[in-house]
């Protein structure tokens, strides 16, 4: 009976730990997977770790994350500890409301904290900058202008960390005999002396705990960072989030594994030390020795910490005078190009990633984004151009623009081609698993066909999803006719009612299609190629009714702080070499006609095998396919509202 119980208890414990650690274990295993798939195991490799250290974007954001976490947790710990002591010594009447105020930021939604801090910084810096400008003009002073960046990120993290420290130190203060400080003072200590000799040793567990919580919260934070980091800095969380439009790179598995193992090691060391100390307590002689060694350890630790900090600060000082702030999509550029550009020009590239057009747009509109170059899709170019957010480009600075094929110039989103330079292009289409359907799919009708109930992944964005309906019905994807749009919506709603759709997805499409969990999906050609690598049963088709073809184009913001560097960057990216490298990395077709034509040869040279012409045709859709495709235009506001409304009724967005 008893034995049984014990067995049950152990089972429960094992299950609990399994539940807690299984995800991390899976992540660690897949960091060694010889494939970009998150579901299929293709063998052991250390490649992702190697690539990780060559990916400047991830390494930079990791560095930022750790530096911010370290600095903010240290500063917040000092500030929070003294604040807690201050609170503690106040009268209850004052302390209670103050503690409540202290707790508000923790219970407050991160988004509110983030947005409000962003607004504060924007307003304060705006006021300062106009003041500085006036002063500089009037008096010839050289007051610097301020922008959001590492500093604001650090301030934000310190701010949201302090309450956690206070909360963790407070109970230790409460447990402490209140007369201890007075006793120490009575014995000849000044207040500060009493603090270091008596209070600190007493509350140390709380302080260390607060430091660890602060560090974790800081590493953990996405939302507040997102709003306060400015254009020049990205934390790891921001970079990972930027990847959700595309697949999350397995390099992230590798970096997460490294982080997890580091923290685990730290915890093991801390625990071992504690065990050692508690054992030493029982033996006074060993206690003396361990006290001496722990003092030495503390000094060594402090020294090492100081050295690391110094190194980090010195490293962060590598302040090139020229910079360019770029906002792209995650996994949408070969990181080696950034390094190459920096080496060639001496211009530092701050590369940030956004998750989608709308996110990028709202950040720009909120103000203070500080971006120079953005890479919106066609319809967003159009919208931003009409709203006057874009700067006219000086094409004299972009000689490589001549390498771009005329097919991709003067498109409807920028008829006079004053504001944009095409970056990539591609088509929307149907990805299907040939092993799971009876006959090849050729029409959008498959997406509304009850025979595929539960097998279809619909794309989770209103423009593409309703667009599929419009294309199937033979209407223009740019129609403003409410009736036509409602008709397309009706198709979706009915199919949904009939259970055709397994789910509405974005980046999850990779895993599901690669693992054969769904038969049919709507997604982009370039991403199909990445999936095909992991599952050769997959096929891609641009349906007979025609489809959407899209261009992502590089634009410069009107209030860009570094317009010239921005144009230099654009010019560099347009070069044939850069386009080839990019195409190989992201599988999206380049508008550089030379690069597009050369790619099969480039592929052969690089991988030693011929490129499958069918795949090449999918990446770079031939003219006859493109002829049946239509690009998105910016829609008028009321049509946009209709899309939003219908999407809400559908209950997806």
């Amino acid at each position: 009976m008893n034995g049984k119980n014990r067995f049950g208890g152990r089972l429960a414990m094992v299950l609990t730990f399994l539940f807690l650690y299984a995800p991390i274990f899976v992540l660690m295993v897949f960091s060694f997977n010889d494939s970009s798939s998150r579901t299929l195991w293709k063998g052991f490799t250390l490649d992702w770790y190697g690539e990780l250290f060559q990916d400047g974007i991830i390494i930079n954001s990791l560095y930022t994350t750790l530096l911010v976490a370290l600095l903010s947790s240290l500063i917040a710990t000092v500030a929070g500890t003294f604040a807690a002591i201050g609170f503690f010594n106040m009268k209850r009447r004052v302390r209670t409301p103050l503690m409540t105020i202290n707790n508000i930021p923790m219970t407050n939604a991160d988004i509110v904290t983030g947005v409000s801090m962003c607004l504060l910084f924007v307003a304060a810096f705006g006021a300062w900058n106009s003041f500085a400008q006036q002063m500089n003009e009037a008096n010839g002073t050289s007051l610097p202008s301020l922008a959001m960046g590492f500093g604001t990120l650090l301030i934000a993290h310190i701010t949201f960390n302090i309450p956690y420290v206070i909360l963790s130190v407070m109970p230790k203060l409460r447990q402490m005999d209140k007369n201890l400080v007075e006793a120490a003072q009575d014995l000849g200590c000044t207040w500060m002396g009493a603090f270091f000799k008596v209070v600190l040793p007493e509350i140390k567990p709380g302080v260390v705990n607060g430091l660890l919580i602060a560090f974790t919260m800081s590493v953990d934070d996405f939302v507040i960072s997102y709003f306060t980091a400015g254009p020049t800095t990205s934390t790891l969380a921001m970079t990972i989030y930027g990847m959700t439009k595309k697949r999350i790179s397995p390099k992230i598995n590798a970096v997460s594994t490294l982080l997890f193992v580091t923290v685990l090691l730290l915890l093991v060391i801390v625990n071992l030390r504690e065990m050692q100390q508690s054992r030493a307590k029982k033996d006074p002689r060993r206690a003396a020795r361990s006290a001496a060694s722990s003092r030495r350890g503390t000094i060594l630790g402090a020294g090492a910490l100081a050295a690391v900090l110094l190194a980090l600060i010195l490293l962060s000082r590598q302040n090139n005078s020229r910079v360019v702030n770029v906002c792209g999509w995650g996994e949408n550029i070969d990181p080696a190009l950034i390094e190459q550009f920096q080496e060639e020009t001496g211009i530092r590239v701050n590369y940030q990633t956004a998750e989608g057009n709308e996110t990028m747009y709202s950040k720009v509109v909120l103000g203070g984004s500080g971006y120079d170059v953005i890479v919106p899709s066609d319809y967003m170019v159009s919208q931003m151009r009409q709203e006057g957010l874009l700067a006219e480009l000086d094409f004299a600075n972009i000689p490589n623009f001549s390498l771009i094929d005329d097919t991709y110039k003067h498109l409807s989103y920028d008829p006079e081609n004053l504001y944009s330079v095409p970056y990539t292009w591609g088509t929307l289409g149907i990805i299907y698993n040939t092993a799971m359907v009876d006959e090849p799919i050729t029409s959008w009708s498959a997406l509304f066909d009850p025979q595929y109930a539960g097998q279809v992944l619909m794309i989770n964005n209103p423009r593409d999803a309703i667009g599929v309906g419009l294309m199937y019905l033979g209407y223009s994807v740019n129609t403003t006719d409410e009736g036509e749009i409602r008709e397309a919506y009706q198709l979706l709603a009915e199919a949904r009612e009939q259970g055709v759709y397994q789910s509405f997805v974005m980046d999850e499409v990779y895993d599901k299609m690669e693992a054969g969990e769904a038969a049919i999906a709507v997604y982009y050609a370039g991403d199909f190629l990445a999936m095909y690598e992991n599952n050769p049963d997959l096929a891609f088709v641009v349906p007979q009714e025609g489809s959407n073809w899209f261009v992502d184009a590089m634009c410069v913001l009107k209030d860009a702080p570094h317009k010239e560097a921005a144009e230099e960057w654009i010019n560099f990216i347009c070069s044939t070499d850069a386009c080839l490298a990019n195409m190989d990395y992201i599988w999206y077709a380049s508008p550089n006609v030379q690069a597009l034509a050369d790619y099969p040869a480039y592929y052969e040279e690089l991988y030693g095998e011929e490129m499958d012409p069918a795949l090449y045709a999918i990446m770079a859709a031939p003219e006859e396919v493109l002829a049946g495709c239509e690009a998105y235009d910016a829609l008028p506001a009321e049509t946009n509202d209709l899309y939003k409304e219908l999407w809400t009724v559908l209950g997806i967005g």
Binding site: D177, N179, A183, D186, L187, G188, T190, E202, A287
Partner: protein, 400 residues
């Protein structure tokens, strides 16, 4: 006892407009054992904190050796404190707790090239070692150097606290209810121990307690306080035998306090009967409070008594019986070695030196009637209740 060491002049203290000390005037002599005695909230702890430097009076002066010390912080006063709950440093062992004060560099003035220079000086480790071990011997804790604080009993912690304070060789040791947390037996032991240490070290003790027995047993001088005022200062004998008012008479020992009229010197009337007494210097026919200690009353057969009453309750106390006797509705406590059963009518005799006369005061009529004897008795003897009251006082001081 030596010369004057500390003097408080018109010290006042208030928290949030509530006056907790009202013009305290007090002097303390060298080598004196002085006790601040009073109920919770009387201001005794606040007075001690003013001497220690933890509280600055809102008005008045604190003089050490005639020098004003109001603004001198605690660490610069030649005073050390033993705190109510010892306030030992839990992260240090016994030795390091005691050595704590010695390890702090002291500012010393040195003659150098004809100039006096101030500089910080550390004691040599050898001297620290010697002084700590010596002090641990004084408090009978030899061999405990390496013990952790939480491994010690309450009494041992108490000794560490005393050693930690005394090792700095203060001129004055302040003790804030140091025995409050100990059980009765240990408390008695520590009382004589403290007295011994005080005499051995030859320094001044200022001792705060609410326990009148403790105060009577240990003190050279007792300062009785209530409601932020000093009610009486005197030797234990003075305080007990000649309480100044009804509060002191009631707080120190047991007292029957009656309304009386002083007819002339050495003659007082109460219960419509005149008694001879040893007091003089009152106005003719002045209303007074008459104090009669329970142990001074002699019980005699009814016919021989000056007064006659009926026994209403008897409690056996070991050495004596607490006998409550009803005299025309006013109940007295009489302590007697003879047993008188409830209902017995007895007579009593009062000799002139059994009667003590006091001027009327704000406390008149509040004490000294044993009608509600049993509750009052419980209150006096209930140690835990008193401890809670002590907490209440601390709470008041700290606004907790």
């Amino acid at each position: 006892m030596g010369r004057e060491l500390i003097r408080l002049v018109d010290c006042c203290m208030s928290y949030d407009g509530e006056q907790v000390l009202d013009h305290i005037n007090l002097y303390i002599n060298d080598r004196e054992f002085l006790t601040l005695l009073g109920p919770s909230g009387c201001g005794k702890t606040t007075t001690l904190r003013i001497i220690g430097g933890f509280t600055t009076p809102v008005a008045g002066e604190v003089l050490f050796d005639g020098r004003r010390m109001n603004d001198i912080p605690p660490h610069q006063r030649q005073v050390n404190t033993v705190f109510q709950r010892y306030a030992l440093f839990p992260h240090l062992n016994v030795f390091e707790n005691v050595a704590f004060g010695l390890r702090i560099p002291k500012v010393v003035e040195e003659e150098r090239g004809g100039k006096t220079v101030k500089r910080k000086k550390k004691l040599p480790e050898k001297e620290i070692q010697e002084r700590v071990l010596e002090m641990l011997e004084v408090v009978s804790l030899k061999g405990f150097e390496n013990r952790r604080i939480h491994e010690l009993s309450g009494g041992q912690q108490q000794r560490v606290a005393i050693a930690r304070a005394l090792v700095n060789r203060p001129k004055v040791l302040l003790l804030d209810e140091p025995l409050g947390a100990l059980d009765l037996r240990l408390r008695k032991d520590m009382q004589s121990e403290l007295k011994r240490i005080q005499q051995q070290m030859g320094i001044t003790f200022v001792y705060v307690t609410h326990d009148q027995e403790e105060a009577l047993a240990m003190s050279d001088t007792i300062v009785v306080m209530d409601q932020g005022r000093i009610q009486q200062i005197g030797t234990p004998e003075d305080i007990y035998n000649e309480p100044k008012n009804a509060f002191v008479a009631d707080f120190i020992g047991e007292s029957n306090i009656l309304d009386g009229i002083m007819h002339e010197d050495y003659l007082v009337e109460f219960f419509n009967r005149k008694f001879k007494c040893l007091d003089k210097g009152f106005a003719p026919m002045e209303p007074v409070d008459v104090v009669i200690r329970p142990e001074d009353v002699d019980i005699v057969p009814v016919e021989k008594g000056q007064l006659r009453g009926t026994v209403t309750a008897v409690t056996f106390k070991g050495v004596h019986y607490d006998t409550i006797v009803d005299f025309k509705g006013f109940k007295w406590l009489i302590q007697t070695t003879d047993f008188h059963p409830v209902g017995e009518v007895i007579g009593i005799v009062l000799n002139p030196d059994d009667i003590h006369i006091m001027h009327k005061s704000q406390y008149s009529g509040m004490f000294g009637d044993y009608s509600s004897y049993s509750e009052e008795y419980d209150e006096m003897d209930d140690v835990t209740l008193l401890d809670e009251e002590a907490d209440g006082e601390e709470a008041e001081d700290d606004e907790e």
